[in-house]
Symmetry: C2
Subunit: 467 residues, 2 copies
């Protein structure tokens, strides 16, 4: 019997807004299905964000390869009594035959930049809107949030502990993957570890200590089974007495030639407790036993602890990271920018879009660091657009790559280490002022002269679209 | 080929924190697997929340019925080279044979109250922690958030439009279900509609208008296919000119005896635009054409619009609701409260837990409205505990029901209408001061005298647990 928590591949095409299907039916009825280009971008940077990290593309491409409406789904749509048999027959034959151009996972990006463009027959491209926004939006949101902890951790190890409070099963998997992509060392999420080959981390819960009559007995029984894997949780009762119990265990282990993997603090004043725990461990000759901290941590708290010199060696980051608590959604949009070879734009109120199929050009200096981006037209020559950068860049590279064509992703799915390295390398070269977690500078992004000219001429034309 | 976006029922037991498995292995090695009781509760109310709504239980019970470690999962665990063959063999035989006591979905609850207790052999109960928190936490979070829009909408229709920005696929499904449970009229999420029988809503996207040379042509082509289902999106270009175009379409439809379903405003000053749109429609004799509003709406914005008298008939609520933007996680915990028949509690820092297996008793007045809750011991007599309420209640009812035993949920899965009605009925009787979306009063919840006595005696005993 299928359980509600599952999601079948067959169901993915219905993971969409109802209007995508009614629009598709209306397009179908009027024979309106020429080539369209849709552009996905973030309208604005979330508060306090100086950069974003692209993720979620690989999973999307996989879903596109298998995108089809199977009979069970068509039967449901038929049961709504809204769609014609002709349209449902058409839907049953829909495959994604278009092209996807996208920033590879791990690319650093900024507001207004297209991170993905889909060029396909109008109906196919439209049907994908919800899925694209949902998946690429979430994965990029979490990668971007996780990278902020990396920015302040000063090389200390970071581990995803968030599964219990992630917004559902899917978000938990995405968080494990996106945080690893953004430089975390591992995750507590076992299925995440299995699916993506991410190192698993875990210590023990308070319940483990509480299930024993004595804290010390709990520690002993654990190290007996996992002598080389034990991080002892010391704050179930009185924390410093817990550290003393852990130290006693560590000394016994050492006598057997084994090193205790660490102690974990999960509550209280982490700065003060970590200092006292460190002192206590050092006094017993246990300076090689690391201190692991967790409990309502986020980049702000980690930055404070690091700055205050807390002797913490690794951080378990949970809720705040996996839900991106201070900015729990990206303001992502997926807009029609070209139809039948003609540019399109929306003009109402604050949500003006950039017309036309596009490319993002990134200027780098001699050290390989990026310093400005230009949003250009797809057909613009990078060499010519490059002249618009000041100072003159050492190199200019297009960021959107063709990643899907002819019904298949281009090339094999890379191992997760590849986007992780891509991100870590560019992040290391990104100027610190864009990485500030409170008041980052705005990274310079602007439309190219050619795109600007198109924008102006299209705005003039829009009046005519309302008759 | 399985796609990454899927989730198989087989994978659910690995949707867990790694430490659940290492603890299980340690318990197994020491033969520590007697009956335990774990209690799930919310440590504190999120900011500005006066009440919470229980949801997510049904899906959990279904997963418990099918909980088992299949060979593919065991092979992965084996590959980690951490677990003994004996433990893996034991895991392969694990089924959930315990009892679940829980508040039925749709129950209103408050901080500190157990909303679910699991009584089972220690290892089974421990292995479920992550899944319980993840699923019940999210579903309750979203139901609680959605109910806040209901509290201020003054009977206007509310629709879930959030799938594109929900935190992943699972969260999108949960949001559709939880918001409907909390009184929404429907969802745009097609798979949500299919799975849960929720009414589907949808209008059209800006891209639909933009794919036509003229706004009017877009409206015409849509109503041609869906004459009885058309809500026209009027803000792609100039909004009021869009309303005029929609009005012209509505008059043509009327000549055919058909009523336009509505117009939708998705940007700009919704108060001002809705007033002007209403006037414009009324002037043309179209006072029966409703106005639908969407675009960054949440309970705060809806309350403002309703208070200002905006002539809006229905609200599409998206991002802020589906991610519970102002409180994107509940501070839920799952704590060991009893082992081998003895109470357990944790005492460190601010996170003291309430010991022992429990029951929640809700006092109601003559009108059926609840006015105070007592957290009592499981074995306490409700009749005796009832004497602790002031004023004397008309009735006192236990909220935790036995919902799972002997490997199966008790009774058939109810249709979603059942918890929806349960919620709507109790919500209607909940005093307004607890529903305020900015500064709600604290609903009175306290431990019973018997629980208090246990708490005090257990605190005294805890010192002995650290040797």
């Amino acid at each position: 019997m299928p359980i509600d928590l599952r999601l079948d591949a067959d169901e993915v095409p219905l993971l969409t807004d109802f209007y995508q299907l009614t629009m598709a039916a209306a397009y179908f009825a009027s024979g309106n299905n020429d080539t369209a280009c849709f552009s996905m971008f973030t309208r604005r940077m979330p508060a306090r964000r100086g950069f974003l990290v692209a993720a979620g593309l690989e999973r999307l491409l996989e879903a596109l390869e298998q995108f089809r409406f199977v009979p069970r789904m068509l039967e449901y749509l038929e049961s709504l009594r809204l769609f014609t048999p002709e349209f449902l027959a058409f839907l049953s034959g829909v495959r994604f035959g278009g092209e996807v151009w996208a920033m590879p996972e791990g690319t650093i990006f900024f507001a207004a930049e297209p991170i993905l463009e889909i060029r396909a027959p109008l109906i196919e491209a439209q049907l994908l809107e919800t899925l694209v926004l949902n998946q690429v939006g979430l994965a990029s949101l979490i990668a971007s949030k996780a990278a902020r902890s990396l920015a302040v951790a000063g090389g200390r190890r970071l581990v995803d502990f968030g599964l219990r409070r992630s917004q559902g099963a899917d978000a938990g998997l995405v968080a494990a993957r996106s945080s690893y992509l953004a430089g975390f060392a591992g995750t507590s999420n076992v299925l995440g570890g299995m699916r993506y080959g991410i190192p698993l981390y875990g210590t023990m819960a308070h319940s483990y200590v509480m299930a024993h009559a004595q804290e010390r007995a709990a520690f002993d029984s654990y190290v007996k089974v996992f002598p080389r894997l034990s991080t002892l949780l010391v704050d179930t009762y009185d924390t410093l007495r817990g550290v003393e119990n852990a130290a006693a265990v560590a000394l016994e282990l050492r006598a057997q030639g084994v090193k205790l993997q660490g102690i974990r603090l999960d509550s209280g004043d982490l700065l003060e407790l970590s200092k006292r725990a460190r002192r206590l461990l050092d006094q017993r000759g246990l300076s090689d036993v690391p201190i692991f901290a967790s409990g309502n941590l986020d980049e702000y708290r980690i930055a404070e602890l690091v700055k205050a010199g807390a002797p913490i060696d690794a951080f378990g980051v949970g809720t705040a990271m996996v839900v991106s608590a201070d900015a729990p959604a990206l303001d992502v949009a997926y807009k029609l920018v070209e139809y039948r070879g003609e540019p399109r734009l929306k003009t109402s109120s604050e949500k003006v879009t950039l017309p036309g199929r596009k490319q993002v050009l990134r200027a780098r200096n001699a050290a390989g660091g990026c310093f400005a981006d230009l949003i250009g037209l797809f057909e613009e020559s990078p060499a010519i657009a490059a002249r618009e950068f000041r100072p003159a860049p050492n190199s200019v590279a297009p960021l959107l790559e063709r990643v899907f064509a002819d019904g298949h992703r281009i090339g094999a799915r890379p191992p997760l280490s590849e986007p992780r390295e891509r991100f870590l390398e560019s992040f290391a070269r990104l100027e610190h002022r864009y990485k500030d977690i409170d008041r980052p500078d705005n990274y310079p992004v602007r439309p190219s002269a050619a795109l600007n000219a198109l924008l102006i001429s299209e705005k003039l034309r829009v009046g005519r679209r309302q008759g």
